[in-house]
């Protein structure tokens, strides 16, 4: 709660809205106890007194009634009616939305058609029609405004409910013996209440305005009862001669609606979880860089060198050290595997190469990434953009993140080609089809006209690979490209990548958590744990003769086909949180060989081609150092 208020007031406008609204609401609440003239007391002798007249701070209206008193009583009424309308619309609309969304099928179909029909009318017309049918009066105006707003709530809440009804915890609740009513009340409702509150806070302002509108037309509150709309309506005839009678309620309406809307927007943003991580602030085009020093460029630069790279996420006061000094080198035409468990920093390493880590909150705080000797960290955005796709291409786990859902895959490929080569549309299209053939898509010219959603997961990933190949890059960074695929499809995609690499000499940085895949595809492998490389060497060496205790035990955890029934080796505990790394070796809390020395100071990654970050390495590396 405290965090919510803080977040709310960080948004100045929302804070301002909250203060203004707070003052108005307090005034409205204490109105009956204020020393005011009775609001309906007519003194014809005092007609149209100007504001500032002693005894009548805001003057009087055409019947000599005290405007201040009418304003406060009117505000009280308008707020109450608007609030009541919002609550009614919210409750009824949410009930409809929840029921339609939860039960789905025919119930959903029928109710939502009805709601659509209501929505098809211009709402003010609908409101007028309802009041015309019920007769004028404040209560009827309230009903009209509520009814007119029900569809908005019903639609919103239905959408949210459909998402929740498909969650597995609803199934779990049914299996725990809950009936539908209980599920709706205890499982679904608590999850939609925040949405209902947000929807109410962003619409209550309009509902007050709409009620005022109806009263202004004489369809709402009836004389002599004052609400803001009827005050405006009655002042209309004296607009020129006594403008203050219109201005006073007008300004109040403005203040109320404005403050509610500012506050409502603030509430919505503050409840949005994305705001907490800073994702709603405008992202920078390339990852922010804050390096204290830049590593020296070696005499003979390689193809791609990641040199002591450090990437952090700064969220509030916390610093997540996602990548803590990673050094890797990718040689032309080789496939380097980067393996580790989720959260170990593989993806952030990969994204840092081309400055693709979202900023804020991401910051590259140290090291360098050199492409043929040129540092990419801190390079100008234009330069990074011209290299993206052309020199270095990415393939992600979810191909839909690279493919636009609304364009045909052939057009997207052609677009990618045209981006870096001005060869004309027709030629680009021809190359696009050729690329689809290269990635073994059957019937390539027909499939080029398909939309991404019309393809299976495996086909989509092939298109993403074609996309990566479009501009003949030297390097492909593949971040778990087969993790979401079935084994038979995975085997196809891996074979394809391997073939492309051999035929075209593309270097691949292959990120995965699967030792089997590394063993089949990669020449060398680096093992990552808690943001650092803990072991590195040729695939054979590392898999057959792991030197780091983490590597050895992780390999032992993986069941292999053909080993039969067995008890699996497990590593107790969890990887450390990267915002709270222990001193010394990050694996020490889970390591059965840990000694005092492991828990202090920096443990270096040692060795030549074969590197290990461990004081007590295993296997042949131990024998070599002993």
């Amino acid at each position: 709660m405290g965090a919510f208020v803080k977040l709310l007031f960080r948004n100045r406008l929302a804070g301002f809205g909250a203060v203004v609204l707070g003052v108005i609401v307090v005034l409205a609440l204490i109105t009956p106890w204020l020393p005011l003239h009775p609001p309906n007391e007519t003194v014809t002798a005092n007609r149209f007194l100007r504001p500032g007249t002693p005894g009548h701070l805001l003057g009087t209206d055409h019947l000599g009634r005290d405007l201040l008193s009418r304003l406060l009583w009117g505000t009280r009424l308008s707020l109450a009616v608007g609030f009541a309308a919002a609550v009614i619309a919210g409750v009824v609309g949410a009930a409809i939305g929840i029921i339609a969304g939860y039960f789905g099928g025919r119930t959903d179909n029928v109710t939502m058609r009805g709601v659509d029909m209501l929505m098809a009318f211009p709402y003010i017309l609908l409101a007028l029609a309802i009041v015309a049918a019920l007769g004028p009066g404040l209560m009827n105006a309230l009903i009209a405004v509520a009814v007119v707003n029900i569809p908005f709530f019903a639609r919103n809440i239905r959408g949210i409910t459909v998402g929740i009804a498909n969650k597995e915890f609803i199934d779990a609740a049914r299996l725990s013996g809950m009936g539908h009513t209980r599920i709706l009340l205890t499982e679904v409702l608590p999850n939609v209440i925040p949405v209902i509150v947000i929807a109410m806070s962003t619409t209550i302002g309009w509902m007050i305005l709409e009620t005022a509108g109806l009263s202004f037309l004489g369809l709402g509150s009836q004389p002599p009862q004052a609400d803001l709309g009827s005050m405006l309506g009655e002042a209309r005839s004296a607009m020129i001669t006594a403008p203050h009678t219109s201005i006073v309620p007008g300004v109040m309406i403005l203040l109320i609606v404005m403050s509610i809307n500012l506050l409502g927007d603030g509430v919505r943003d503050a409840l949005d979880p994305r705001l907490r991580s800073g994702a709603l602030t405008r992202p920078l085009p390339a990852t922010q860089v804050a390096r204290k020093s830049v590593p020296e460029v070696p005499a003979r630069p390689g193809l791609l060198e990641i040199d002591a790279l450090e990437t952090q996420f700064h969220v509030g006061k916390r610093v997540y050290r996602a990548v803590g000094g990673v050094t890797l080198e990718l040689k032309p035409g080789e496939c380097l595997g980067l393996i580790g468990e989720s959260g170990s920093g593989k993806s952030v390493t990969a994204l840092s190469v081309m400055g693709l880590v979202a900023s804020p909150p991401g910051v590259i705080t140290g090291g360098a990434v050199r492409l043929e000797g040129q540092d990419l960290v801190g390079a100008r955005y234009e330069r990074l953009r011209s290299l993206r796709g052309d020199k270095v291409a990415y393939i992600f786990q979810d191909p839909l993140s690279t493919l636009h859902p609304l364009y045909r895959v052939g057009d997207q490929l052609a677009e990618a080609i045209l981006c870096h080569h001005g060869i004309g549309r027709a030629a680009a299209m021809e190359r696009a089809v050729k690329l689809l053939e290269d990635v073994r898509i059957p019937n390539a010219s027909a499939r080029a006209r398909a939309f991404p959603h019309e393809l299976s997961g495996g086909m989509r990933q092939r298109v993403a690979i074609a996309m990566a190949l479009a501009n003949e890059p030297d390097i492909i960074i593949a971040d778990e490209p087969t993790t979401a695929l079935d084994v038979t499809v995975q085997a196809q995609v891996l074979a394809l990548l391997d073939e492309l690499r051999r035929e075209r000499g593309v270097a691949i940085l292959f990120i995965t958590h699967d030792f089997g895949v590394v063993g089949q595809l990669c020449d060398r492998v680096a093992v990552m744990y808690a943001g650092r490389i803990v072991e590195q060497g040729t695939t054979r060496e590392v898999l057959d003769d792991p030197a780091h205790p983490y590597t050895r035990r992780l390999i032992a955890c993986v069941p292999e086909l053909g080993e039969g029934r067995r008890v699996m080796a497990a590593i107790p505990g969890l990887p450390p949180a990267v915002d709270n790394l222990p001193d010394g070796c990050a694996f020490a809390p889970r390591c059965d060989k840990a000694t005092e020395a492991c828990r202090t100071g920096e443990i270096a990654l040692e060795g030549g081609a074969r590197k290990v970050r461990c004081i007590h390495p295993e296997g042949s590396v131990r024998e070599a150092t002993a």
């Binding site: 725990s176 205890t186 084994v487 394809l496 063993g519």
Partner: protein, 315 residues
């Protein structure tokens, strides 16, 4: 050995693109009539690729999805109307996504109390005792009970999911990809926990996964599903070591294994579920396919001893 779970000709057809009035736009046979038994104390593994009907089959077995046809018998009792509450005492489900299977707005204690209260009508004191017992069985610390799901890692959340299934006191658990969302080091922890629980409480498992090695490591028998039908069934040690159905062989060859060369680039795709082929669903990808395969659907039959396959030309 008594039979814990028996499905007879169980099938499910989904109607696609339902309209307000009139027939649906299409029908998809998610599960073809399937018959199998699981013995008490056994682990039956079910493997298959995404979309082959694993989860639909599992959801029918716990009453979350009404079958189009067929019957289910649990511990000798026929359960024919899909009522999850009636099923809940006998058979429970552990979900794939440990986080989305826990209501984010309830504490762990509140989640675990529901089955105790609604399925077994326990009073407060009995519930607290039972929850403490279960929590210890799944190796979780009692102070976790007052926390909310988002405070847990995937592996811990999956333990909580298992605890909830145990709370219902069912003796049969359907484990639907219980470790797929977990990292290998944590996966092993959960698999070992499942093995311990099985021994301790005499449970029967139906273990669904797309990971062949995991299924082989935990199962007594394995059924291989392809395109909504069981294509092979047999003892765990034989199914992948000596496959009888060409699809099982393709699966086994595709599983990434250190030192094994990469397979072929081309091995075809699944048929279109809205427009299934008339004969064997695997014919389009099968190196042994004959003309007979393209017109006549093979039935699941005994090939040799305890190995069954649905194939005209088994290996």
């Amino acid at each position: 050995m008594s039979i814990a779970l028996k499905a007879t000709d169980l099938s499910k057809t989904f109607e696609i693109g339902k309209r307000l009035i009139g027939p649906p736009r299409g029908r998809v046979r998610a599960v073809h009539p399937t018959t199998f038994e699981v013995h008490a104390g056994e682990t039956l593994g079910i493997v298959g690729e995404s979309g082959c009907g694993k989860s639909t089959l599992a959801r029918m077995l716990v009453g979350l999805e009404p079958p189009t046809q067929g019957s289910i018998e649990i511990e000798g009792r026929a359960l024919d109307n899909a009522d999850p509450a009636a099923f809940g005492r006998l058979i429970q489900y552990v979900f794939q996504d440990p986080v989305s299977s826990l209501n984010p707005r309830k504490t762990i204690r509140e989640i675990l109390e529901v089955p105790l209260k609604l399925l077994h009508g326990m009073d407060r004191k009995a519930r607290a005792e039972r929850i403490a017992e279960i929590f210890e069985a799944v190796n979780l610390r009692p102070e976790f009970l007052t926390r909310y799901p988002h405070e847990f890692s995937g592996g811990q959340a999956q333990r909580i999911g298992i605890a909830r299934a145990l709370a219902a006191n069912a003796r049969i658990l359907i484990l639907d990809e219980p470790v797929s969302a977990l990292d290998v080091s944590v996966q092993a922890q959960v698999l070992n926990l499942l093995a311990d629980l099985k021994r301790e409480f005499g449970l029967t498992y139906l273990f669904i996964s797309h990971d062949l090695a995991v299924v082989e490591a935990v199962s007594d028998r394995i059924a291989v599903l392809y395109f909504g039908a069981v294509v092979e069934q047999g003892p765990a040690e034989k199914v992948f070591a000596m496959p009888r159905h060409p699809y099982t062989k393709l699966l086994a060859d595709s599983a990434p294994r250190v030192g094994q060369p990469l397979g072929g680039v081309q091995s075809g795709e699944l048929p279109d579920p809205l427009n299934p082929p008339p004969g064997c669903a695997f014919a389009g990808r099968c190196p042994r396919a004959s003309d007979r395969c393209r017109v006549e659907r093979p039935e699941l039959r005994v090939i040799e001893g305890d190995q069954l396959a649905a194939c005209h030309h088994p290996l």
